[in-house]
């Protein structure tokens, strides 16, 4: 099962996302921003990092990369896309997901092992979790505070489109403790925590992130 990971200039967690796909049993495929060729992958991960140095706004420049034009069209037809951290920011800038990620409330970059609860298990990226399951996954960002209009928040909540929520403590001032959301169709998911950094007990605080990658593989098999 071929899963792509896009490298933009300034992507940092691309190698970790490729590793996570491999550990989950998939075939990781590196994709480069400057090509619009999706290389016959069946799903794609937009990894964390500081694409284009976060200049202008996080994700604002990457959104115009040739590969994004292919991804945006595919996503509108149900192609599974996971955006992690900077990838989430790119998805918001691309309008595949609503809202925006803004400067953390404390104005600092925060790297910590973050408790989370799973709020939606109907997406192809979260189907391997149990509803309400508690996870510990690293967050590491300077602009992770999820903000959206009151109407958008009502829409997200009423449609059950909050995928992950911060537990115990809101680390950055996100509205409704939102750590991740999905689009109405459920194929596009954006999360601020880094599941690809919680796939091995040796290097992560847990292996709680691995199910994002096993979920997508199982979803693609069952399709």
């Amino acid at each position: 099962m071929r899963i792509g990971v896009v490298t933009f200039p300034g992507s940092l967690d691309d190698s970790s996302a490729l590793r996570a796909i491999r550990l989950a049993g998939g075939t990781p495929v590196p994709l480069f921003h400057a090509s619009d060729d999706l290389m016959e992958v069946e799903a794609v991960v937009l990894p964390g990092g500081f694409s284009y140095g976060d200049y202008l706004r996080c994700g604002a420049i990457s959104r115009f990369a040739p590969i994004m034009s292919s991804i945006i069209i595919a996503a509108e037809h149900g192609f599974p896309v996971l955006g992690i951290c900077n990838g989430f920011q790119i998805l918001c800038e691309s309008h595949l997901l609503p809202g925006a990620l803004t400067r953390n409330q404390g104005l600092h970059f925060v790297c910590t092992d973050q408790p989370l609860t799973v709020e939606n298990i109907s997406t192809p990226w979260t189907s391997g979790y149990a509803l309400g399951q508690r996870l510990v996954i690293p967050i590491k960002n300077g602009e992770g505070s999820f903000q959206a209009s009151a109407e958008t928040l009502i829409e997200l909540e009423s449609e059950g489109r909050v995928a992950l929520r911060y537990a115990d403590k809101n680390p950055n001032g996100s509205k409704n403790e939102i750590a991740g959301i999905t689009n109405a169709r459920g194929n596009v998911v954006g999360v601020m925590p880094h599941p690809e950094q919680a796939v091995e007990s040796l290097t992560g605080p847990s292996t709680d992130g691995l199910a994002f990658f096993t979920s997508i593989l199982q979803s693609l098999v069952g399709r």
Binding site: L12, A20, A34, H108, E200, L202, T203
Partner: protein, 745 residues
């Protein structure tokens, strides 16, 4: 102003030149005239002034540093030694590792964010230049007192700068130090370490040879930032009343560096360069003269080809600019088009600015006019050497022994322990380290606050490296010779405590003014101690950095040799962590405690320095390291005892996983009593937790290595109980974690 050419310099020998303003001494200026047989041009003067600065030429330290060569132990591991951008060691399986620490102290005082950020950027480029992929960074930082007003200006900016740059490069920050002492007020120390990995065959050197090969500048365009940074900032003390020196600090663009790293690694992978040098301190002056000097000598550069961010820059400014994120490569003409293609892929500007010539001189032209014509060795390697006066400082004759309270009651134990762990030097540093990404790249096996940072090198074979940086500046103040030895031994112990074998050493020697004979004595003693201990331990020094002039007025910083030790671990899955993992384990202290209060954090808390550093017992330390490595499978956790002694180690080990401990300290058996047992900083000790069923096996090994074990108690519960003094973990955590957030927000 008219261009000052070589022809004009010959015709007009008496032109007044600003050599003094550029930091040169009169005899140094005379020497330049002697070398050239005429006065230097403005551009030559600029080059010599930056390259002969203390920062670049090591003119005050050279005579001492040569001991690292004279006393070097035999090492099969050393692939590239001192002199290149960074040393390289063999770690087996065909892998080579390069690592180095550098200082960026003065720029970080002037402009904390950019100073610290470009410090990280510079050391990362040094590692990249060796042909290696940078894999992790560490940052030993030192500040004035935590509650001093200027610390509140400097610390948040420095921490944000280290994080802002390093995080954006995708390099995990896996360790370092945060230390406060009043002598660093006005002179914060920002030391940055980077480690990189490559295959043996990929090692690159800074050399230019092969007549007709091209000199290519690639990376960021050249601007007016950082002009004279090394000569102006790093080689002078800050005196009040002088004009602001802010423009001398470079401005960093980590995104440009990240792209430069990926671009360079792709270029290296296709073997497209003959030699490579990064542009750091002294910019193009340094890169061209060092490349030419290390090669056959001849090089011609057309300075007007250098892409500029600011077109108004004069040739001297272009030569001195320390604009960041630039590299200089020597390339065969046949490989140029492939080189350019890779640069284009990463949107990196690359320009041919010259070529290697058959001559012996570095010749630089600007719009066709010859403005530099020098033997490159005289610029890069044959700078002035000073054997500066040395005198043992008077303060050493008026030191007084410590006089500290005894701990007779549970209340006294509790009160002293809580105040110690809340002291800024001991308290939890998460406020700082949570601003650094420790996870990126997915290979960080251990990161701060663990005893060493550890990175997996190979996912299939599980090979990894560990790094620790240490300094105990108060011991160095009391006894610089032994202070340096103790810092290295502590660093080795930290490596071994996590399960890795020490392999090589780097250092960053931070001192006051070399023109002060007392400071120079501290420096000489430190280098002597470090060279001796490396020989005794059989560890090669792979490189290092000297930072002088860290003083405000007549007050120098504590002598601060920061020692970095690299270790190798064959299977990272076997590493040992510092936190007690479960209840029902035996807590044991390896090694004896003495009444070593001098220079300790507890003595400092009571306003005392004491009168002597501990005497290192190298034989015992070597056996301790052997014991740690052999007994590692028996440990459930292990934590080195250093700053704050056993009290700090117990606090950190219990709070890590929130598992308490109950211990008894029979004070009558320890010189200094219970107070020493808890707070003395006797070296050569480790706190371990072991399963009771492994105890006898451990005792056998300890006996084999003649290392004493002391049973302290057992793990479990939700309190730390010491001789009937019970401190709930909640109370312990509050004391330990609240200090830095309270001070810095």
């Amino acid at each position: 102003m008219a261009l000052d050419t070589v022809a004009i310099a010959s015709e007009q020998p008496n032109t007044l030149q600003p050599w003094r303003e550029l930091g040169l001494k009169e005899d140094e200026y005379s020497r330049i005239k002697e070398i050239l047989g005429r006065r230097p041009t403005a551009s030559e003067l600029a080059m010599y002034s930056v390259m002969w600065s203390e920062h670049c030429s090591y003119k005050s330290s050279k005579v001492h540093l040569k001991q690292f060569g004279e006393k070097a132990p035999h090492s099969d591991a050393l692939l590239v030694g001192i002199g290149e951008n960074a040393g390289v060691v063999d770690i087996g399986q065909g892998y080579a590792v390069t690592f180095k620490i550098e200082s960026h102290n003065h720029p970080s005082f002037v402009e904390p964010y950019q100073g610290a950020a470009t410090g990280v950027g510079g050391i990362v480029r040094d590692i990249l230049t060796m042909g290696a992929r940078p894999i992790a960074v560490m940052d030993p930082l030192r500040f004035g007192l935590a509650d001093a007003p200027d610390t509140r200006r400097v610390l948040p900016g420095i921490v944000a700068g280290v994080g802002g740059y390093g995080n954006c490069l995708g390099l995990p920050n896996i360790g370092g130090e945060v230390v406060f002492d009043e002598t660093y007020a006005g002179n914060p120390l920002v030391n940055a370490l980077c480690v990189g990995v490559m295959r043996h065959e990929d090692i690159k050197l800074a050399t230019a040879h092969g007549t007709g090969n091209l000199v290519v500048l690639f990376g960021a365009k050249t601007g007016g930032d950082g002009i004279g940074g090394v000569s102006v900032l790093a080689s002078e003390t800050f005196a009040s009343g002088k004009a602001a020196k802010r423009p001398s600090v470079q401005v960093g663009d980590p995104f440009a560096e990240k792209v430069l790293i990926e671009c360079s690694l792709e270029i290296f992978a296709e073997d497209l360069v003959i030699g490579i040098q990064d542009l750091g301190g002294a910019g193009l002056s340094c890169a061209t003269s060092e490349l030419a000097s290390a090669g056959s000598g001849g090089m011609s550069i057309q300075l007007d080809k250098v892409p500029l961010r600011d077109p108004s820059l004069s040739p001297e400014e272009i030569l001195m600019s320390e604009s960041q994120e630039r590299m200089c490569a020597i390339i065969e003409p046949a490989k140029l088009s492939r080189f350019m293609k890779i640069c284009k892929k990463w949107d990196v500007t690359a320009t041919v600015i010259g070529e290697v010539t058959a001559g012996k001189h570095l010749e630089i032209t600007f719009n066709g006019e010859l403005i530099v014509d020098v033997p490159p060795r005289t610029v890069a390697h044959d700078g002035p050497v000073y054997n500066r006066p040395i005198a043992k400082p008077a303060y050493l004759d008026s030191l007084v022994p410590t006089e500290l309270p005894t701990l007779d009651t549970p209340d006294a134990i509790k009160a002293e322990l809580l105040s110690l762990i809340a002291a800024p030097n001991i308290a939890d540093k998460s406020w700082v380290t949570d601003q650094y990404d420790r996870y990126v790249q997915g290979n960080s096996v251990l990161a701060q606050p663990e005893d060493s940072g550890m990175v997996r090198i190979d996912e299939q074979t599980h090979l990894g490296v560990a790094i620790s940086t240490d300094a105990n500046a108060r011991w160095s103040y009391l006894d610089p010779y032994n202070g340096a030895k103790l810092a290295l031994l502590e660093s080795c112990r930290n490596i071994a405590t996590t399960g890795a074998k020490p392999l090589a050493v780097t250092n960053c020697l931070n001192f006051g003014s070399p023109e002060d004979p007392g400071v120079m004595w501290q420096f000489a003693e430190t280098v002597r101690g470090l060279a001796d201990i490396c020989l005794e331990m059989g560890l090669p020094v792979t490189g290092g950095n000297v930072s002088f002039y860290n003083q405000t007025g007549a007050v120098a910083i504590l002598p601060t040799p920061v020692i970095g030790v690299l270790g190798v671990i064959q299977d990272v899955r076997a590493r040992t962590k510092m936190g007690i993992p479960s209840a029902g384990l035996q807590l044991i202290q390896i090694g004896n405690t003495g009444d070593n209060f001098s220079g300790s954090e507890w003595a400092h808390l009571h306003g005392q320095m004491g009168d002597h550093a501990p005497t290192p017992d190298v034989g015992t330390e070597v056996r301790l390291i052997e014991l740690l490595l052999e007994a590692q499978p028996l440990f459930e956790s292990a934590h080195d005892l250093s700053d704050g002694g056993l009290a700090a180690a117990l606090t950190e080990a219990t709070l890590r996983n929130n598992i308490g401990a109950t211990i008894g300290l029979p004070g009558e058996f320890i010189p200094g009593g219970v107070a020493a047992a808890l707070f003395a900083e006797t070296p050569g000790r480790v706190l371990i937790a072991v399963d009771p069923i492994n105890l006898s096996a451990l005792e056998v090994l300890a006996a084999k290595y003649e290392i004493p074990l002391h049973a302290l108690g057992s793990t479990g519960g939700d309190a730390l109980v010491i001789n009937h003094a019970s401190i709930s973990l909640t109370e312990l955590r509050a004391a330990y974690t609240e200090t830095l957030p309270r001070l810095f927000g």
